[in-house]
Subunit: 314 residues, 2 copies
């Protein structure tokens, strides 16, 4: 388990490393929802996603002896970049396992932060096997993208900053995938604003967290099918234990609504967000969640998209 003191400790470790991201509002979205919505812009975080917080906290928590052997992870997305940059800042090696069919731009992003990329076949089994091998060969510490208390505590620092800057929120929303962001957020919010609700928003095509939350146990036999490429992971055991205890609800959003919400944020807020970040915004715009008259915080989780292939274009 984590508690609020872990998040405070993470915030101290992140100082001077992670950005304190701005909080934006949008009169048009307030009008559409009848709410006052505060967007915590983690798309403007380093590496373009909140993931940098968790990776940095985990890596900054290592002893010097642990750290000198480096860190390893498997990810072709934001978490891989986050680990690569956090390791660079601590001046230790990073090993990132990636499937060999990953687009060149994603490899380049990770390599650009100085990490060593280890290719594997594009299957879950090959990724796990390769990561195990790399870890045992190098002695590197494996930084899991969400099933890790220190990662979760790091992710919770975004909501900590949000609650400190914006008093009296009635509700805080995040996307949910592996569950690290939602678990960390709930831990911060329930401590700082006990009366506020915390809700996770999930693509209908990858609704393992929604199902698990309702069943009261992890349901993992889901084949994710969603445009939100950051939300295809299955809910992790550790985050799920936090989510069961501290989160009020999980809601589902279909991809068409997510694309509309994403475009609206680009057009009206002038912020590049990725589809994953648009999922909670869609939940508000679709009124999947009661919005009228409420003060609502939304974590805009990231902004890493392929500008040549936008979801509203063919």
């Amino acid at each position: 388990m984590i508690d609020f003191s872990d998040i405070q400790a993470a915030a101290a470790r992140l100082r001077g490393k992670a950005h304190v991201t701005p909080i934006q509002t949008c009169a048009h979205i307030d009008e559409l929802t009848g709410a006052r919505v505060f967007f915590k812009c983690e798309n403007l975080q380093r590496v373009g996603a909140f993931k940098f917080r968790g990776a940095t906290n985990a890596i900054a928590s290592l002893s010097d002896a642990e750290a000198e052997r480096g860190v390893a992870t498997q990810s072709s997305g934001n978490h891989g970049q986050a680990v690569a940059l956090a390791a660079k800042l601590r001046a230790i090696p990073a090993y990132v396992v990636m499937p060999n069919n990953v687009p060149a731009i994603k490899r380049a992003a990770v390599a650009g932060y100085g990490a060593e990329i280890i290719e594997c076949e594009p299957t879950a089994a090959a990724r796990d096997r390769t990561l195990d091998r790399v870890a045992s060969e190098t002695g590197a510490y494996v930084v899991h993208p969400y099933n890790d208390w220190r990662v979760m505590a790091g992710q919770g620092t975004a909501a900590l900053e949000l609650c400190e800057a914006v008093p009296d929120l009635d509700l805080v929303l995040t996307p949910v995938s592996g569950g690290g962001l939602l678990a960390g957020t709930a831990t911060s919010v329930k401590h700082l604003v006990p009366t506020a609700q915390v809700i996770g928003a999930e693509p209908a095509g990858a609704d393992d967290a929604w199902r698990s939350f309702r069943a009261g146990r992890r349901i993992t036999d889901i084949k994710p099918d969603t445009i939100a490429d950051g939300l295809r992971a299955i809910i992790g055991e550790k985050p799920f234990s936090v989510i069961r205890a501290r989160v009020d609800d999980i809601v589902r959003v279909d991809d068409a609504a997510t694309i509309r919400a994403m475009r609206l944020v680009w057009e009206r807020m002038k912020l590049v967000i990725e589809p994953s970040a648009a999922v909670p915004v869609a939940a508000l715009l679709e009124r999947t969640i009661e919005t009228e008259g409420r003060r609502i915080g939304v974590i805009l989780s990231g902004g890493n998209v392929d500008l040549d292939r936008l979801p509203w274009q063919n």
Copy 2:
């Protein structure tokens, strides 16, 4: 002429109406330029552009007797939206003259703020004639987009906020078109940081300000040809008088460099900016301006773009 006290007065009028926009940095751009660059995000300003500052200052400056007859302007772009919203906030009528071939989305944006749109033929003469007629029929105060001291003073408030938040800048850069933003910026910067340079960046295909600056007199016989649709106006007489006195240089940037810079800002900074806003960024990236070791402020002027027609796509 305007001086710094006009900008301070404008800042007081804007309080609670305009956003104090965030200032962002980007490690990648710092690396590419060898500088430390501070981006003042006027794309996150209301209506998506700095233009809201000037329009709001002009309209807030009117006496009640002047104001009650409303305000008028001609613009199919950011200034039209800015006047419409500023008038709405003062609860007075706004009349916006637009050519009849303007895309529906631009009409909708202005109409969405409650302004009355008056159509005219798509020629400069028809626009002027129509605006004159509207003004004389309604008695509305005409808010010129740049050739107006109050508008210029409003535009200067962005640089005021920038210089107050970021000490010891060596250089501040803005795009230049009609000249209001550059003139207001120079007035703020030269007062607050007398040692700092102020430079305007202009598309090579619309280089009337560059030519005028070198000639020491306004050169207006230019046919603008640039992707930067916000920078096709000809330098105004009043802003030019300020620019001659207070600006250090004007540089030119070609459209290809502007498009590369725009894409880089979207990709790395996760900010939607329009081509006009990318022009000063391009001047830095191309090293048209000395950057090494300097602390540089850049006004990202706006973020209004057609998301269906991005300049790096066909």
